[in-house]
């Protein structure tokens, strides 16, 4: 079946979308988080057709949870719990009922002004979760590690960076990587009490921000970062310092990327230029022996022609801020105040 794209205008710029995982049935519900509006909200939606005369399902709003500031990130800490970072510096852990998704979201923990410039407000720009732990970063340059189960701050790295941090990703349970406004990446050993990074390197020489970081689902030592300039950098942490490859991809900043959960060879990225791309990473991830019999995992820099990139929807006029895939369906949220559902995606 060909790709099918379905849009819905929701009257708010969507910064994050997340499918809500289901145990035995196809996922139907998802979260959206908005930004840049007078009052921003986290909404729960479901796909259905109330009239039953259509064969197509349309998103319908189930509940709405207003928040202060912009929603900057949503990640699951558990199957029905999400950690939400907000631009007023707060972090919230919210729970959605397993049985009735229409019920309003329940606030489990609220970390008020987790990130701050003293009394002044400061945005919590991103967070990542791993098995109930939450790592948050903010414009104040601090890193906080929270326990999503107990609702405590377990560790704070003060002034982890002298500029604002914009992205964070857990590499291992005790290791996280952060990226700042200048594309300076730092790896933190969370066990050490010293506030010094275990390693640091630059994304590119252009002094532009690292907007998102993810790691490869099956090879966690492989890290990908998206840049404000639209390029994509790949590191093999076994030999860090320089990116193994730096690909000029989108024409404007990469907003979010995700490896397809069912097929780690597929990477999906979205950008400020309004593009949604699918990458075939098979060629890039193939292991081969290098000249010095070292394992070379990622393709060499000069071999970019073999990369397979497909555009999934015709470019929008506004930024696509977020994407989330679930099997053959990809959700994305954009600055034209719409959410798009791409169906029949082959993975």
């Amino acid at each position: 079946m060909p790709l099918e794209v379905q849009g819905k205008f929701v009257s708010q710029k969507i910064n994050k979308v997340r499918w809500i995982p289901e145990e035995y049935v196809e996922t139907k519900c998802f979260f959206t988080g908005s930004w840049d509006d007078d009052i921003n909200t986290i909404k729960v939606w479901t796909l259905d057709n109330p009239d039953e005369d259509d064969e197509v399902d349309y998103p319908h709003e189930l509940s709405s949870y207003p928040v202060e500031g912009d929603v900057t990130q949503i990640k699951f800490t558990d199957k029905n719990k999400i950690a939400v970072s907000l631009s007023n510096g707060d972090v919230k852990v919210l729970e959605i009922s397993v049985y009735d998704k229409k019920l309003p979201l329940k606030e489990l923990f609220h970390f008020k002004k987790l990130h701050n410039y003293g009394k002044e407000k400061c945005s919590c720009t991103s967070l990542d979760t791993l098995e109930g732990d939450i790592a948050t970063v903010g414009e104040d340059g601090n890193v906080n590690i929270l326990s999503g189960r107990r609702g405590e701050i377990t560790r704070t790295i003060k002034e982890a960076d002298s500029c604002s941090l914009h992205s964070v990703c857990f590499i291992k349970h005790n290791e996280a990587i952060t990226g700042n406004l200048r594309g300076h990446m730092k790896i933190w050993d969370l066990r050490s009490s010293e506030n010094k990074p275990a390693a640091s390197f630059l994304l590119a020489g252009d002094e532009l921000a690292a907007t998102c970081i993810i790691h490869h689902p099956t090879q966690p030592h492989i890290i990908l970062a998206g840049s404000e300039s639209g390029s994509l950098a790949v590191w093999d942490l076994r030999m860090n310092a320089f990116p193994t490859s730096l690909v000029n991809a989108h024409t404007a900043g990469v907003n979010e990327m995700q490896f397809h959960p069912e097929n780690p060879h597929k990477l999906i990225t979205c950008s400020v230029s309004g593009e949604l791309w699918e990458w075939n990473m098979e060629a890039m991830t193939k292991s081969s022996k290098g000249p010095d019999s070292q394992l070379v995992t990622w393709m060499p820099l000069d071999d970019k022609s073999s990369m397979m990139v497909n555009s999934l929807i015709s470019a929008l006029h506004k930024s696509i801020n977020t994407l989330h895939c679930d099997k053959g369906r990809i959700l994305c949220g954009a600055d034209n105040e719409a959410i798009y559902l791409v169906k029949n995606f082959k993975y």
Partner: protein, 653 residues
Amino acid sequence: MNSSSFAFGAVQDRALTANTAKTFVLPDKCFKKYVGCAWGRGNKFTIYPYSHTESKTPNAAENSENKLLSIRQDVLLFRPILRRLVNESNGTYLSLQKAAETAKNSDNQVEFLKLSRQFRSIIRVCIESLQKASEQELNSDDRNTSSSYITIFFSIECIWHLCEILFVDSIPGDVVMPYLLEWVRFNFPCHEQTAGKLLEACERGAEDDKDYWDTVIGMIVQGRVDVARALLKLHSQGESNDFKLVDNSLRSMPVYNVYGGISTGEFQILWKHWQAECRSKLSSGVLSSQPKLELIIRLITGEYKAFESIRGRYSSWFDLLGGWVMFTAPWSRRHELGAAASACAGMAPGRTKLDDMVRALLEGDLHQLIHEIQQISDNGWFATHLTDMLFHCGKLKILDDHHNNVTAKVRESLILEYGSLLMEHKSLWSVGLSYLATVPPEGLRRAELILERIPIDTEAKAMRIVAEAKKYGIAGIAPSLSRCLCARHLQARRLGAALCWAVRARCPGAAQRAAHAALRHYTQAASLAARDLLLTAGPAVLLSDALLFLGKYCDFHRLYNSREFKKAGDLLVSLITSKIAPDYFWKTLLLDTLALLERDEPVFTSKDTYEIMLCLELKPSNLEAEKADLLRLALARNLARTALAEGEDPGEQ
């Protein structure tokens, strides 16, 4: 200001007089004698009590009554339900600009028609969602506002559809009659359900239904002759001669078709002949026993009085327009509809705004039309999009008083107005920007001015504004915005962030200020700010002398801490001798040499030592006498050591 209404916070006030200017009553007594006013961003202003004479004795009781009143335009389009319309139509608008770009080389009428339909479907969706919302509305006030919106968008749809028929679509031979009938059926459906019901039942004696005759007549004036004939057959006397006679007349009515193979002239002869036949049936009086049938014949012969007699059954004359054209001059071309419009409009007194618009449209007076639709209180959405559509289709020609063609100017001013309005909104600014960007150069300049004034609370927003501005080639935004953020961080003594934004701004001045702040901070707190930034800054440090110095000095610390004393010493000497250090930093630099002078291994050569000595003596005011003496001693000792060592090994010299 062409505002429809104002909102004072939550309190809405009605206009008292509605002539050219509107009067609004302020909710409280806000000022006694004089009042001042200050404009804010967009259509927003603040009024405040203002006194010409400065009161020398501030009276607390008097001041407590003083209030600042912030007043803004209440914009319909900013309501969530209509924001969908704004966003969706923005996409179509941008596609239209693209299509117009390609149409410069080739004819692109089909694409324009497609986009025009897209606009209409967007309006339809909007009407539907408004209807749904108004059904769910519990509050009667809210329901009333919803229904007034529905009325607005219904008339917009109606006008757009007619415009599409008359000016966007390419109609074979320009014979608009079938399209006009379609327009009537689509926008003013009536009797359709009854007709469907009667035909479905398919029972004789359908005239028992009280709406039977109204339905038959309705079908006739909508030009649905087949349906009317089928309905007539359901009459219990359907087999009678009178009915057969009418049926025959209806059946034999010549239908004009451009591709019919006959010219208009020939057709007109056929038509006149048929009409004469019908009239002879009337005058013979065979139908006098059946007034309803007689009415049908009078209608299909295009008798004005007959149309006038049924006008009262319809809410507007648009219902009759299709039938009137069909039965008087079915060969009418688009520019010949004015007469039909005035004939139909004249059937009943009274006129509404919609009447004026439709008449202007049928008369082909697009200037008047645009003037009229600007009065619709949709904040210019319709006027902007329709004007743009007609402009690109090449159908718009507006002359000013001196007969200059001002079409492009009219379009531009509408788009500018609409775009600027949207840019006021917290979320819709990017939509507004994409409108302004389509009318360079004025639009881009306006956009630049507005973008600079958008409040920025997060870096994410700053980065998005910069990215959007870059997309449209507004180069000035990125540096000015970065400079602004740099200044903000600098004021709050967040030196790392300030340096970072100064570098992003590529602004030597800002970099200079931030670097000086960092250096001064070091002289006071003895800790170096933004070490991570400075060590990785690369060529960016070349922006300003101070930044370069700071970067080098930071490098000196790195070398010193990693115990590379020789290299650190060389760097320090080069910093001292280059004389780029700011005055307040000399003290620090000179004292830094002390630590290196005291090392077991000599770090400085005798030549270096002389240089340091020279500087020390040239800038005596920087050091307290005690410290200066200490340094002199250390320098002297180092000189002694190195002079000896260098003397032993002349090769090194």
